[in-house]
């Protein structure tokens, strides 16, 4: 009896999860695997269009003979690069009409014209002309004939499904002189974005954890950048930072803090002089990182606040008795309590910042030294149009991602063991 119940339970379970598993498999897992397939192929954006045989139907009346009519089909191969094999043609006509001297490729049977047009090379064009007459010697209506549309079908090779593979994409990715720069930019962006978001998250959480007027309101306000759509925020920042009419530059010039406008999003380097040493700061990248911090510190804040509120009050009371100062309290009580949350947050944010695309794309489009790996996927795949290269870069991202995930789950497992 119990085994029967268990069987029913099992079957129900599979039935309940099946739709989700299928959907996730086809939209998430299958594409990740097909990335590997595409990355070994030489595919470009223009290859993705499936070549189609097309026909344009022109109807012409014949002089002095209203019982006859001439139909011209303008046939062509839509593709400029691929051939179509075994093209078949089909068209329908009104009753009481038959063709005069038909091409031997074609057959006419009960109002249907069928043709075998053979193979069409790329850019192929041909005109097919057929004269029709009315069997009852009546006038042929052009309108009736035009109301039918010809149907064509043909086979073409789908470049994605062939078995030709190449290593060129990966060679190009790794040999690219900019690859090291690309990696370092990505890590620089990821690392400082993550650290910054966590540091500001801790500060904000510490603030909101104290009692003051308007605290709940403050908590909602702090989450605004995280919940608002990235498109709106990025464009607002772009206007804010604009060198000529942007608010920030105008404010700084107004207060005579700077002499001329600074193009915060369009300038790659700025030279800073600190204690007599000149050093180059990657300006646009730093601006993008600041945006990133501004947008994602709320998340760190939310997590750390939740943890802070769970810290037992007795610990602080005991510290007061011992005469600890606020800094010591923070370093010795608060920090150890939130360390676990911080390490998990760091890993999660690191993984997500590593893959962040929208923010940089909308702010700079990857120009002036802000090209990270995800931006490169887009640029290779869609700006240059080399789908294979884009896929190869995606694979590089996936490899890094798997390494990070391995570390993350190791860390998660360790935490679980400790508790």
């Amino acid at each position: 009896m119990s085994t029967k119940l268990a069987k029913i339970e099992k079957r129900t379970a599979y039935l309940l999860i099946l739709p989700s598993v299928l959907l996730v498999f086809s939209i998430i897992l299958f594409p990740i695997f097909s990335n590997i397939w595409i990355s070994f192929k030489n595919v470009e954006l223009k290859d993705l269009r499936i070549p189609e045989p097309r026909a344009k139907k022109l109807v012409k009346s014949i002089k002095d003979n209203p019982n006859q009519i001439k139909i011209i089909y303008k046939l062509r191969n839509s593709s400029l690069i691929q051939e179509i094999t075994n093209v078949k043609f089909k068209d329908k006509y009104p009753d009481d009409i038959e063709p005069i001297d038909l091409d031997n490729k074609c057959q006419f049977k009960s109002n249907l014209l069928k043709c075998e047009l053979g193979n069409w090379p790329k850019k192929y064009r041909e005109n097919l002309e057929i004269v029709f007459q009315n069997t009852n010697n009546q006038e042929i209506s052009k309108k009736d004939i035009k109301s039918y549309k010809p149907k064509l079908s043909g086979k073409s090779q789908n470049i994605l499904l062939t078995y030709e593979f190449t290593l060129n994409n990966f060679k190009k990715v790794i040999k690219d002189k900019a690859f090291i720069d690309l990696l370092s930019t990505t890590f620089y962006y990821t690392f400082f974005g993550t650290i910054g978001a966590i540091v500001f998250g801790i500060l904000a959480a510490q603030m909101v954890n104290q009692k003051f007027f308007g605290r709940t309101f403050m908590r909602s306000v702090l989450l605004f950048p995280y919940v608002a759509p990235v498109v709106a925020l990025a464009y607002t920042w772009e206007l804010l930072l604009d060198p000529t009419s942007g608010t920030l530059n105008n404010l700084l010039i107004n207060y005579q803090i700077i002499d001329g406008p600074i193009n915060l999003l369009g300038q790659k380097y700025v030279t800073l002089n600190i204690l007599g040493f000149d050093f180059k700061l990657r300006l646009a990248l730093t601006t993008v990182i600041i945006f990133e911090i501004w947008r994602y510190f709320p998340l760190a804040f939310l997590f750390i606040l939740a943890r802070l509120q769970a810290v037992p009050k007795e610990l602080y009371e005991a510290a007061d008795v011992d005469g600890a100062n606020p800094l010591q309290k923070f370093l010795n009580i608060t920090l150890p309590q939130i360390l676990a949350v911080i390490s998990i947050l760091f890993m999660i944010r690191f993984i997500w910042n590593f893959n962040k695309f929208e923010d940089i794309f909308l702010l700079t489009g990857g120009a002036s030294g802000t090209r990270t790996l995800p931006i490169n996927v887009y640029q290779q795949g869609f700006s240059i149009g080399d789908i294979g290269m884009g896929s190869a870069v995606s694979i590089v991202i996936v490899v890094f991602l798997l390494i990070f995930m391995f570390i993350y789950f190791k860390l998660l497992g360790k935490r679980a063991d400790e508790n």
Binding site: A6, E9, K10, A13, Y14, L16, I17, S20, L23, S26, I27, I28, F30, P31, I32, N35, I38, A204, Q206, M207, F212, S220, V221, L223, F224, Y226, V227, A228, P229, V230, V231, A232, Y235, T236, L239, L240, G246, N250, L251, Y255, W294, L302, F303, A306, N325, L327, I348, I351, N353, N355, E358, V377, Y378, F382, I387, G390, S394, V398, L401, M405
Partner: protein, 397 residues
Amino acid sequence: MKIKNILTYCFISSLFLFSLICIWKILVTLQGIELINFNFNKLFIFGIILCVINLLIGKKLNLNIKLILLALLFSIFDYFISLNLPFWYSLGIFLISLFFFNTIKNYDKNFLSKNHSSQKLFFNFLTLFGITLFSFVILFPFYMMLVTSFKTQALLLLNPLDFSINFAQGLPELFKSYFVVFKDYNFGRYMLTSTIVSLGTVVITLIFAIPAAYAVARLNFFGKNFLSTSILIIYLFPAIVLVIPLYTIFSQLGLRNSIEGLLIVYTATTLPVAIYMLQGYFKSIPKELEEAGIIDGQNWLGIIFKIILPLSLPAISSVALYVFMIAWNEFLFSLMFLDRPNTFTLSRAIQFLNVGAETPRQYLMAGSVVVTLPILIIFVYFEKYLVSGLTAGSVKG
């Protein structure tokens, strides 16, 4: 010890007062008023003097009288060093200094002779300063977005620092950019598309996720542990690695430029987190309730509909709100899949506006307000649910 405390007190307090005044002055500048000097030296030194006076007076005077007196003194001083400014500017200065002297009323001689008082003072001021700075930095871009949408091109070029709203011009003139955006740029249609896509994603995700989450939470089957860990792993895969294969497949299947295609992708990408969030909640429902249901002769479907669903409405609403937010804000897939204006979502339409030649910025900002406002209203109204959704789903960003 005491001298050190008094010095830090004066120094930090005056610095804090000055930074508050600074933020106020920036706000005043942004109302289009010409103000080019912060007068750091004078205000800072005068602030220190006032702090010392505050300490010297102590409790000899009535507290309220003392506060008003000191604040008045400060505002008059500021009035004389920064001339030709409107009355409301000085009123603001007065209120800020009132607030400030109210904050430092506790720091008397008694407090300053205690241990750690300088550190305590420092952290208290840091908190207050942090709150003001954070609110300013966070709210300012939103404020700017709103005000820019109320302006005209000429006004924006005339004085880029003028962020005042001129109510005198009448409402139709004020909301002109919105009329243009809805009428000429077809934003009504985009908004409808965005709403349909977001609500559709919520409904389909829930239909798929609730049974799956129930199975993972309650039923025993082979591969259950594997499934629940893989949900998290799948969730960590970003959209950018899916975009090229999905683009190629969707272009060949003709699913690009269609709402259906977008719905499929959005549902699939939000499904893992929805299952993850729901199963956690389902596990917390006492098992006895379902056992009672089984005894009453309910089948699995009946249990889900009659017992689990009514009990987990809060969790379902937070999942629904979170999924809605993701779908509404989504940008990458709509950029890739939609290139015909009649299928655009709001996010994609705004990006199209920005890329398209020379769209006046007030229209761009009006569009941004149109896309931002609904989500902020939903957030503020349903904050409790959304925050729990954000925390549970925060693995994604």
